[in-house]
Amino acid sequence: MTAIATPASPASRRRPAWFLPVVSLGGVAAYYLLLRFVFGIGEGTALQQVANALSTGAIYALVALGYTMVYGIIELINFAHGDVFMVGAFVSLFFLVQVLGNTGLTAPITNLPVLLLLIGAALLVTMPLIGLLNVGIERFFYRPLRNAPRLAPLITAIGVSFILQNIALVIAGSGDESSPQIFPIRDWRLSIGEITIPYLSLFVFALAMVLMVLLQTFVGRTRLGRAMRSTAQDREAAALMGVDLNQTIALTFLLGGALAGAAGVVWGLTYGYVRSDLGFNAGLKAFTSAVLGGIGNITGAVLGGFIIGFVEVFATTLGQTRWSQFVVFVVLALVLVFRPAGILGQQVGERA
């Protein structure tokens, strides 16, 4: 389900680089065949659901990366991260409404360069802003508690989550705020014979993939990425080797927030609404993804995000939308019974 080939920290058993992409592709194919022949879903619907799952999974994966990176570096489950994503969706919404209002463009924009420019601008505004929001949260709420017992920052994170949620409630009210769906979902479709898939799903998937590969390269290949990985493994030793902890941790929050911002933009494009309690649900799923994939592991978070996306869409496809949460958490429980550290997670002993 993901094309990322180089895990940030090589797993204890070295797998060849093609292993994950091939297994993922196989998984997607199996999923399609399952829908098609076991559950008797029509060819068109089944393909559409696969595309749907790819874009849903991409959003969860982007948010899950923020959870997993922060956990990896300071062992904090940042419960506020889902709400950071929600703020991202709102920022993108306000930006798009402003631009559309001032330029006289109307919602589905069928001019491709203008559309790409607009989405690019939304990303360019939202990602840094949300990244910096995350840095600010770290600076004010988590850094003073860095040496406190682990429960203190955890409770603080829940508090921050409520603060963000309530600020959004005050500003935007409690209902659905409709976000301009500038991407023409109904008109722009990829047709394969008589089957059509919205290009939007593919666009979302591709965008998420590009961001994840960039992240992977940054963490795996650069000086600051090395600093992040060393801090994640042994914070004190990293400091004693000259790594500036404050800067490294702030950078982690910046990256995690920026990805959540991108997820917010994508959310608005895909679902066309934003609401103040969005962060709770999406955050929960993203957190589940991170745990499922092995929290602290970047590739794992991406994998987990896509798995959750596929499982959820699966429930919806069978007409059991109400049961989607149930299925998601049953899958989580089952995986954790057999692999307590998550799919790609390392067993605890190896960290020490």
Partner: protein, 331 residues
């Protein structure tokens, strides 16, 4: 004190509650010497070592390192967030005021926009800490403490008693982390993979391989640290410490758990570091053969106090030292 001393600790005291772990120790390390710190268990060696490394603040006393006062404690560092929120908040207030005074909408929006921009620039500064931001901090009277990473930047490298490598990184990457504070690439350099960044990374890699070669880990650079044999891990720690190009190297029991042959090799390596790289070395060691074999000077601690100091021969004959080690001859 003379300039020939690389490190100069004066009356350093550390109390943990009622316990005086280190009591008024004067300690100097001359340039290009090998100095050992010994003493029975619980003598305060490690505490003293950690004070020098910047982990603990001493309760009293001063440390000069390369002529620089190193214990500059956190001084109004908590004001930093106000620096980045403050100007933006003022701008936003002005904008709000202008709005109330019914100024033209575009003016209010422009002011708000500038406030937002200011906030973003200041926050990015706080994350990346470029030079202009640090100057601004100093101008505003906000100083950072001398934390461990600042000591490393000042030229102090160390190894650990119980090996603390980054186990899931390769040997080469471990050394590159050691070089972290000597590399300058910003996150945008890294992200855009600028020529400057690529050249720097290439140079760093060459240097890291040289260091691995120096400690005798040639051809092991792609190996994960946790897969290296014990003796090699100790050597990798030395290479990692050398990465930051230190003037003073602190070695915390470098031969602990080694067999006699490995110990010999480590002693040869320590001597080589001094002669070839011109390093000054501070050693904590339990193995008296090592201590007496390579030290220029030995300092003995007991119950947090300095009980003897001098050449290995002088220390060996000192009755207080013999007594501290329960009469065991310091072979």
């Amino acid at each position: 004190m003379t300039d020939a001393n690389l490190l100069d600790a004066r009356r350093v005291t550390k109390r943990f509650g009622g316990l005086v772990a280190v009591n008024g120790i004067d300690f100097t390390i001359p340039e290009r010497s090998i100095v050992s710190l010994i003493g029975p268990n619980g003598a305060g060696k490690t505490t003293f070592f950690n004070i020098i490394a910047g982990i603990y603040d001493p309760t009293a006393g001063a440390i000069r390192f390369r002529g620089r006062q190193m214990i500059a404690r956190t001084h109004r560092a908590f004001l930093e967030p106000f620096l980045w929120v403050g100007p933006a908040a003022v701008m936003a207030l002005v904008a709000a005021g202008a709005g109330l005074a019914r100024a033209p909408v575009t003016a209010v929006v422009a002011l708000g926009f500038v406030a937002l921009l200011l906030l973003i620039v200041m926050l990015l500064g706080a994350v990346a800490r470029p030079l202009w931001y640090r100057r601004l901090l100093v101008r505003a009277g906000i100083f950072r403490s001398s934390r461990p990473n600042d000591m490393v930047e000042a030229g102090l490298g160390r190894t650990f008693q119980n090996i603390r490598l980054f186990h899931n990184m390769t040997a080469l990457e471990n050394v590159l982390v050691g070089m972290h504070c000597r590399l300058k690439a910003n996150w945008w350099d890294a992200m855009l993979s600028t020529p400057k960044d690529r050249a720097e990374e290439a140079r760093a890699e060459i240097r890291a391989r040289e260091l691995l070669h120096l400690v005798g880990l040639r051809d092991r650079d792609g190996e994960l640290a946790k897969n290296l044999p014990y003796g090699d891990q100790r050597r990798l720690e030395v290479a990692r410490a050398l990465g930051s190009d230190p003037a003073l190297l602190l070695l915390d029991e470098p031969t602990a758990g080694m067999n006699p042959r490995e110990t010999q090799e480590m002693m040869a390596l320590i001597n080589k570091l001094r002669t070839e790289l011109g390093l000054t070395i501070l050693l904590i060691e339990h193995d008296m053969k090592v201590v007496m074999g390579i030290s220029d000077r030995v300092t003995v601690l007991d119950h947090g106090e300095k009980i003897a100091e001098g050449t290995p021969d002088e220390v060996r004959r000192n009755p207080r030292v013999v007594e501290a080690y329960l009469g065991a001859p310091a072979a």
